[in-house]
């Protein structure tokens, strides 16, 4: 039952699982929902969709699948002619109405009926839950004729069609950050727990051995709580060719922000030179000399550079090569200084790995980093974190 529906959702790239589908069937069996399609829509949404950013996708898929079924219930012979007439009048589009006038009633009715029969065949499997399946098409369970609809004009006040065709959740679809959970899980590899700071937690083992040493007199031992001690310096390339990768960088940044307590971040453009900045809007007024950064943060910080490393080789190798200003020393010198100061370093590159060999500047930075350049994918992130945690 409803297996086609499940497959249709799956084909619409909704992340539905068998367990959720079985839950839906169980709920139907226990009559959680009544026999209206509205309620079925709400129920299946509560069972199968677990994120409001997927609501819109679900609405569309549901609409596609049930466009046929709504007009299903055994509409064959027993419909009184004037019912059909009424229905057709109510639900035909203006073009069809115009066609109706030129064709005449009888022929149109013929087509109308044929169409309904086709629909029945195609969706027969889903018929059970809607209605009676008996004599009257709109009968016992109060299924409203307005649910049967052909044109896009709906007369329904609160019909199911209206509910999902409203697509109220459309703007939620892309707004929510997707995938930060995966990034956070990858970043967790960098966790390095240590006990620092005030003693707040009871050290049970310590207390037992201290009590034993104290000949049975209670001697409480406290210890500091465990914190993630890892410290991270994040350098982000911003502007220019990085605009194509804004989304993935934002995800990485927001995941890193919440995962690391000691996170310092700086922006640079294309390559690191003598200045970096903290706020991109005030990049020209509030610049930090890189020397200050190098002196301020000790070598226990792990260095992560994020950038596409795509530029002219001169920008790395030549003094004055920067696109922004006259730099006295080449970017490569600054890169070496950075890498000398922070032995644990990795470069994350949002460009696909297969393109790297075709870009000279990537090759140069790759060798400057001594091969520690990774693609900004989950796999690359994992490899980078594993290297950094060594």
């Amino acid at each position: 039952m409803l297996i086609d529906f499940f497959h249709h959702l799956k084909a619409s790239r909704l992340p539905v699982s068998t367990k959720e589908f079985l839950t839906l069937l169980e709920a139907l069996q226990k009559h959680v929902a009544g026999h209206s399609i509205d309620e079925f829509y709400y129920l299946s949404r509560a069972c199968l969709v677990k994120d409001e950013s997927n609501y819109d996708k679900f609405d569309r898929a549901f609409g596609e699948y049930f466009r046929g079924v709504e007009k299903l219930p055994g509409l064959a012979a027993e419909i009184p002619e004037d019912w059909l007439r009424l229905l057709a009048k109510k639900h035909l589009t203006p073009e069809e109405k115009a066609k109706l006038q030129s064709l005449g009633w009888d022929k149109l009715m013929e087509e109308f009926r044929k169409r309904l029969q086709e629909q029945k065949k195609r969706h027969a499997g889903g018929s059970k839950w809607i209605g009676t399946g008996g004599s009257s098409p709109f009968g016992a369970h109060g299924y409203h004729p307005e649910g049967i609809r052909i044109g896009p004009e709906s007369a329904g006040n609160r019909t199911a069609v209206k509910v999902w065709e409203n697509r109220e959740f459309r703007n939620l679809d892309d707004k929510i950050e997707l995938g930060t959970r995966n990034i956070k899980v990858a970043l967790r590899r960098l966790r390095r727990f240590a006990r620092e700071g005030a003693s707040e937690e009871l050290d049970l083992d310590g207390t037992i051995s201290a009590t034993a040493k104290n000949a049975g007199w209670l001697d409480l031992m406290m210890r500091p709580e465990r914190h993630n001690r890892v410290k991270v310096l994040l350098f982000l390339d911003i502007g220019g060719s990085m605009d194509d990768h804004i989304r993935v960088c934002e995800e990485l940044f927001s995941a890193a922000r919440s995962e690391f307590k000691h996170l310092e971040y700086f922006y640079f453009h294309n390559c690191v030179y003598d200045h970096v900045w903290r706020d991109n809007r005030r990049r020209h007024s509030e610049r930090l000399p890189l020397w200050d950064v190098l002196h301020k943060y000790g070598p226990d910080y792990k260095l992560i550079l994020v950038g596409d490393a795509t530029m002219s080789p001169y920008e790395i190798l030549q003094p004055g090569g920067s696109v922004e200003y006259m730099n006295e020393e080449p970017g490569a010198t600054w890169m070496r200084r950075l890498l000398d100061a922070y032995p644990h370093a990795a470069w994350l590159n949002p460009e696909p790995e297969r393109l790297w060999p075709y870009r000279q500047s990537i090759g140069i930075l790759h060798s400057l980093m001594a091969g520690r350049m990774f693609p900004l994918t989950l796999d690359g992130l994992e490899r980078a974190m594993r290297l950094l945690s060594k």
Binding site: E20, V32, D38, Y42, A46, V49, K50, K184, T207, S258
Partner: protein, 280 residues
């Protein structure tokens, strides 16, 4: 047991259905939505409507899943051992029951609220999978298996600060409380302020929805803020005309501090009003 809404909480049909599905199939219901749309209120309302006791578990960033089950109070046991107390022989005397254990052990069905689950560590939901699925857990100290006598009705709220793991989501029903439209909002206000003048409500709603439409607001005013604001308007006895902007002048709504909670938002709003007055 069926939830049919209640006198002081306006539940939309889809919300009601999700709640009933969770009650009938005895599975947790995960509720998301903008802050102030009544996620926490829902659990309280359902508990009150069904006449069941409500157990609340408010999650903080330091909360561990274990704390919901039980905690072993080693310090009091050590202390008692020094004082020669007899209780010390039984480790069970030093096990403090958490919210879930209390609910599992209760004589009648209960409602559990796990509030703001997204505040906890990223692994927190994974640590509760078995407990919420099978409604049982093992106490290592006393070597006993605690099983729920009656499967409790579990409500979980989230503010979307962290994504929840798939395995956890698969075990829940899900409902997103969307922001109420004008009709629903009207009935919410009717429930909270039955005697309020119709004219004032209409003007206030107008102002409120316009305010929500301002692009770039950091925190849009929510239902609970609207209710607070109305309370203030009534307390200050502000006439409906004060909310109107008849003479082509854009009025700053009185007491707007109740609606806008962010300094930048207030600045943005005042700037917009200022601009609107000058280019009319």
């Amino acid at each position: 047991m069926r939830f049919e809404g209640s006198g002081d909480y306006v539940a939309t049909p889809d919300l009601m259905l999700a709640v009933n599905a969770a009650i009938t199939l005895q599975r947790p219901l995960l509720v998301k939505g903008e802050p102030g749309t009544g996620k926490t209120m829902l659990a309280e309302t359902v508990a009150a409507a069904l006449g069941l006791p409500l157990l609340q578990w408010h999650i903080k960033s330091t909360t561990k899943a274990q704390q919901g089950l039980y905690e072993y109070d080693a310090v009091s046991r050590l202390r008692d051992s020094q004082l020669g107390d007899d209780r010390v022989q039984d480790i069970g005397n030093y096990i403090v029951r958490g919210v879930l254990w209390q609910a599992f052990a209760a004589e009648s069905p209960t409602v559990i609220l796990i509030d703001e689950i997204d505040k906890a560590d990223i692994e927190f939901p994974n640590d509760l999978l078995r407990e919420l699925d099978r409604m049982e857990f093992y106490v290592y100290e006393t070597r006993e298996l605690v099983k729920a006598r009656h499967r409790p009705i579990v409500f979980i709220t989230s503010n979307n600060e962290k994504e929840l793991p798939d395995a956890f989501l698969r075990r829940c029903f899900f409902h997103y409380i969307k922001f109420p439209d004008k009709e629903t909002m009207q009935s919410i206000i009717d429930v909270h302020f039955p005697g309020l003048k119709k004219a004032l409500i209409r003007e206030a709603l107008e102002v409120f929805f316009q305010l929500r439409d301002i692009p770039g607001l950091k925190k849009k005013p929510s239902t609970s803020e609207l209710l607070d604001w109305l309370k203030l308007l009534v307390a200050e006895d502000i006439p409906p005309e004060a909310l109107q902007a008849k003479d082509n002048k854009v009025a700053i709504p009185p007491l707007h501090g109740a609606l806008l909670k962010n300094e930048q938002d207030v600045h943005l709003f005042e700037r917009l009003v200022f601009m609107a007055r000058h280019n009319r």
